[in-house]
């Protein structure tokens, strides 16, 4: 599965959390749409497993980073819609900067400037 799985579970989990929170920044939506959005925007490079998505959503809800409510979808079905909370927004900023630091570190190691010169 092309979920980013570089380091241990914590990183993986953190990454999924980041992806979900970032998706919800655009507006409240339900689980299926979140999965599809991640898949689409990553040009199908990232595919979120349902098996990890829902536990993750409930975990974020338990932490108070997202809030959930039952709403009627545009097709008239009951859907559980998730929304970013103010605390979630703060968390998103923190996660994002952590991720950026991490990916910068990865870039620096895998493409060292010195090597490019040789």
């Amino acid at each position: 599965m092309p979920t980013p799985s570089i380091a241990g579970v914590d990183l993986l989990r953190g990454t999924l959390d980041l992806l979900i929170l970032r998706t919800l920044l655009a507006g409240p939506t339900h689980g299926h749409a979140i999965a599809k959005h991640i898949q689409r925007t990553s040009e199908d490079l990232l595919k979120v497993e349902t098996g990890s998505l829902y536990p993750a959503l409930h975990r974020l809800e338990a932490k108070g980073w997202v809030a959930a409510a039952w709403e009627i979808s545009d097709k008239g079905k009951r859907a559980r819609v998730y929304k970013l909370t103010p605390r979630g927004r703060k968390q998103l900023v923190a996660e994002q900067s952590k991720w950026e630091t991490f990916s910068r570190a990865m870039r620096l190691v895998t493409n060292p400037v010195g090597q490019e010169g040789q």
Partner: protein
């Protein structure tokens, strides 16, 4: 916190959340299917693909659920359910285990509740932690070289240095503290017991005891009245109106209701007082050992006691006790540093000579939150011994259960192997097994608390042993329940952990393939840990048996102490006519008349009176010595004033000369009878009859005195049962006696207590103002003196029996298991011609070996333990050979019996069945 609540909610509303999750996932599936359908796949196919994409739906549920709630708690509930099923499946085992744990935990809880009462309680007053008790400590040495020339109160030995500690001071020292310690103390107050007085209210006389208190006592303790007012500084002055404050309970007893008491007129020792108010319920003064009925201003002692004015001025007479309240922010250490030198300077100014200066008492401040520690000094060591005993019992029963669980763990190998093989983690299985054992011990603990309630009551009765002034009344409180709960959980883990670990250390494949016969190979290992446990149990039982043996022998020694008088069929009772207003010499006639009337009761063979009972009270002593003899080191002779017929009534033999009769008047020379011990000590065995003895020093009760010896009486126990017979001088009772206290003794036929009613009636007719108190038989009085020894002998015997019983059950279990395991082998041996005796011996040998191992463990431990209780023993060495042999013998006999039952069963094995079983 919010997460905690959310999880708790989740646990409670699980069903709805579960439904919601289901709906949510269904929506996901529908959505997915719709999209796939839009891509051109048939509806049926789309649903299938969507479901496949979702993966294991149960797992998704499971993982999401783990987010909501505590997986641990859920598993715990699951484990408990399973545990209850397992326990219910083994009813006998469970019941036995729960019962033995309940006994152990119950006994521990009961005894601990006494410790808790004794050690953890604070005085029921505001801010008890700022209270301090004032004591002094003097280095070891003769009391003669001490600045303390006279005293009334208690001193005790300092455990470490052998010095003397006391809480009594001269009144001027109290004045010093009151005026000079104001920088560290916000108040200093003093008190002194009234001892027993005649308390007359509503025309009814009764004996009661109270406390003289200084004016700052109630305000210093910060107590508020429940009716009327309490005593203040204005009451505590010479010439102030005589007022009293009653305890709540006593006001109810005498006036029916606390509110009715204020303003009532009462008489204390025939002196009129007015009740000013009532103390709050639950207030018992400053000493948990006492429960004063009333409180009087200190200066009212001028009305009630001779020479009280002198006591208030005397600098070398130590009698008054003090407490103080620290100012806020002042520590005990700071107060000590400030007042130590102050007291030192003062006491230094009161010395009579340089020898006294060398051993001056030093002030010692002690925390006063718990009040005085009279009870703690008296009971904490016996309670520690009892606590050690019941703790041992609990350990023995824990070992027993551990052993049984170990045996059961082997039986459950298959079950556990199945669990491990289908993927349960080892820790998870251990947790399951531990849950079972803690469940078991919790049930035992719950039942134990019920037993403890009963045990506390029983122990209170045993400790009080008929004493009316017994104040300890512990109950269950949160500390005690907490300890019981902790004990239950701890024991559960203690006896469950080893078997749990052992049973999960399984070779799964081997265990699954195993049959009964196949297990024989691993027998040795499990057996050895079980053997160790049984041997330990046996060793511990030996410790308890030996202790019980020593205590029983101690009691027997005390009971067989030669008293020198006949204790059977004697009725004792006390009265004090002086406190009811009688005065000499009419009082002597009053007492003599009563004696004659008691003697005339049908069934009474003799009646006499003394100034104090022979036993159960202190003695009076003074240097009443042959003329020209200097006082020998050690105690002065003990003095007892005895009425006519004393020797005949108590059945004390008069060896030479005569006893004291009615014609002996208290005029010089006074007739005196001395004991054999006196003759040995002061006359070296020479005939002393006709010799004069005299006392010149001013003693508290008797002044200058010369007496002529008219007879020699046999040795008698006076004041104490232990030690050598004391040198006693008997003087005639018929004399101006200062305290007015008398004890009558009646020799009766039949049960002495039958005469109690008649005695009361006679005294009531003579003078209803004189109450008769302490009516008891001489035998019961002696029992009360041996209270602690009786308690120890009874409780320890019971505890030791219990321990041996539990150890026997343990041994029985182990041996039964041994026989079961080796049934095949035994069958083969029998088939090959072994006789029954051989088989029995083969099994018994094993039991004996275990017993010996236990003895090897237990004997050294028992010797160490018996040294610890040495101070409780009388007339017996802690390593008394007979007691050791008897304990060992009893233990071995019990063990043989426990081993014989399985041995006999082994001998009845049918060889055919056993061999076929293989």
């Amino acid at each position: 916190m919010s997460q905690f609540c959310a999880r708790l909610r989740a646990l409670l509303h699980r069903r709805t959340k579960e439904d919601h999750l289901h709906d949510e996932l269904q929506f996901h599936l529908d959505q997915e299917a719709e999209e796939l359908q839009a891509g051109g796949i048939s509806a049926e196919q789309a649903r299938q693909v969507a479901r496949r994409e979702l993966g294991n739906a149960t797992l998704v549920h499971e993982e999401t659920r783990a987010v909501w709630t505590w997986i641990g708690l859920e598993q715990l509930i699951q484990d408990c359910r399973y545990g209850i099923r397992t326990l219910a499946a083994n009813k006998t085992f469970s019941l036995l285990a729960i019962l033995s744990l309940a006994l152990g935990i119950g006994a521990n809880t009961a005894i601990y509740s006494f410790m808790d009462w004794l050690l953890m309680r604070s005085l029921p007053v505001a801010n008890p932690e700022s209270l301090v008790v004032l004591n002094w400590r003097a280095p070891a040495g003769s009391s003669r070289d001490r600045v303390v020339h006279g005293m009334s109160g208690t001193t005790w030995k300092d455990g470490q240095s052998g010095g003397t500690i006391a809480g009594i001071f001269p009144y001027p020292a109290f004045d010093l503290m009151r005026t000079h310690a104001t920088t560290v103390f916000s108040s200093v107050f003093a008190y002194y017991p009234t001892r027993r007085v005649n308390f007359m209210a509503n025309g009814q006389a009764e004996m009661a005891s109270g406390e003289f208190v200084s004016g700052g006592y109630f305000s210093g303790l910060a107590v508020v009245p429940s009716a009327g007012r309490l005593l203040g500084p204005a009451d505590d002055q010479a010439g102030a109106p005589a007022v009293a404050v009653l305890s709540f309970a006593y006001s109810q007893k005498r006036f029916g209701h606390a509110a009715k008491a204020p303003g009532q007129s009462i008489a204390i020792n025939d002196v009129p007082f007015t009740v000013a108010g009532v103390a709050p319920p639950g207030f018992f003064g400053v000493d948990p050992a006492a429960a004063p009925d009333f409180y009087l201003p200190l200066h009212s002692g001028l009305l009630l006691k001779n020479d009280f004015d002198k006591a208030l001025l005397e600098q070398n007479y130590y009698w008054i006790e003090m407490m103080a309240r620290l100012r806020p922010g002042v520590s005990l250490g700071q107060a000590q540093a400030a007042l130590g030198p102050l007291f030192h300077r003062w006491v230094d100014s009161t010395v009579a000579n340089e020898r006294e200066r060398a051993k001056l008492p030093e002030l010692q401040l002690r925390e006063g939150a718990a009040g005085l520690d009279t009870l703690r000094r008296q009971y904490s060591k016996p309670l520690y011994v009892l606590l050690a005993m019941v703790a041992l019992i609990l350990v023995i029963s824990c070992i027993n259960i551990a052993n049984l669980l170990l045996a059961r763990a082997t039986a459950r190998r298959r079950e556990i192997a199945v669990r491990l093989s289908i993927g349960a983690g080892r820790l998870r299985v251990i947790r399951q097994l531990l849950t079972e054992s803690v469940l078991l011990s919790s049930l035992g603990g719950a039942l134990g608390v019920v037993l403890a309630i009963w045990g506390i009551r029983a122990l209170t009765v045993l400790l009080a042993n008929g004493r009316e002034d017994f104040t300890m009344s512990p109950g269950l409180n949160w500390h005690v329940l907490g300890v019981a709960a902790a004990l239950a959980i701890l024991t559960g883990i203690l006896f469950g952990l080893a078997p749990a670990i052992a049973s999960t250390r399984v070779d799964v494949v081997g265990a699954l393939k195993e049959t009964r016969a196949g297990q024989a190979g691993r027998r040795s290992r499990r057996f050895s840990s079980s053997q160790m446990l049984v041997a330990t149990q046996i060793g511990m039982s030996l410790v308890m048996l030996l202790a019980a043996g020593l205590f029983v022998r101690t009691l027997a020694n005390l009971q067989s102490v030669e008293l020198g008088f006949n204790r059977e069929s004697v009725l004792l009772f006390r009265m004090n006519a002086k406190q009811a207003g009688h005065r000499d010499p009419a009082m002597q006639t009053f007492y003599a008349d009563l004696q004659n009337r008691f003697r005339a009761i049908p069934g009474v063979q003799g009646a006499t009176l003394t100034n104090s009972p022979l036993l159960g009270e202190g003695t009076m002593s003074g240097p009443l010595l042959p003329v020209g003899v200097k006082e020998l080191p050690g105690a002065s002779p003990h003095i007892l004033t005895a009425g006519s017929d004393f020797f005949a009534t108590m059945k004390v033999p008069v060896l030479f000369g005569r006893g004291l009769g009615q014609r002996d008047q208290f005029s010089s020379p006074v007739a005196a009878v001395v004991s054999e011990a006196y003759v040995r000590k002061y006359f070296g065995g020479q005939n002393p009859i006709g010799q004069q003895i005299s006392m010149t020093r001013q003693a508290p009760l008797l002044g200058d005195l010369t007496a002529q010896i008219v007879g020699i009486a046999g040795d008698v126990r006076y004041g104490t049962l232990k030690g050598e017979f004391r040198a006693i001088v008997y003087l005639p009772f018929d004399q101006p006696w200062p305290t007015g206290d008398v004890t009558y003794a009646l020799r009766t036929s039949g049960d002495p207590l039958r005469y109690a009613g008649t005695v009361r009636e006679i005294v009531r007719q003579a003078d209803p103002r004189v109450p008769v108190t302490d009516i008891k038989t001489q035998a019961a009085q002696i029992d009360q003196i041996m209270n602690q020894e009786i308690l120890f002998a009874r409780l320890c015997s019971a505890f030791a029996m219990l321990a041996v019983l539990i150890a026997c059950v343990g041994l029985y279990g182990t041996m039964a298991y041994f026989v079961e395991r080796r049934a095949g082998e035994i069958g083969i041996r029998m088939a090959l011609g072994a006789r029954r005796g051989d088989v029995i011996w083969m099994v018994l040998r094993h039991a004996v070996a275990l017993g010996m191992a236990g003895l090897a463990l237990g004997l050294p431990a028992a010797f160490v333990a018996s040294r610890l209780v040495e101070s409780f023993l009388y007339g017996i060495e802690p390593t008394d050979r007979v007691t050791v042999l008897v304990s060992v013998g009893m233990l071995l006999a019990a063990l043989l019996l426990a081993g014989y039952v399985p041995a006999r069963r082994a001998s009845q094995i049918d060889p055919m069945t056993a061999v076929r079983g293989e």
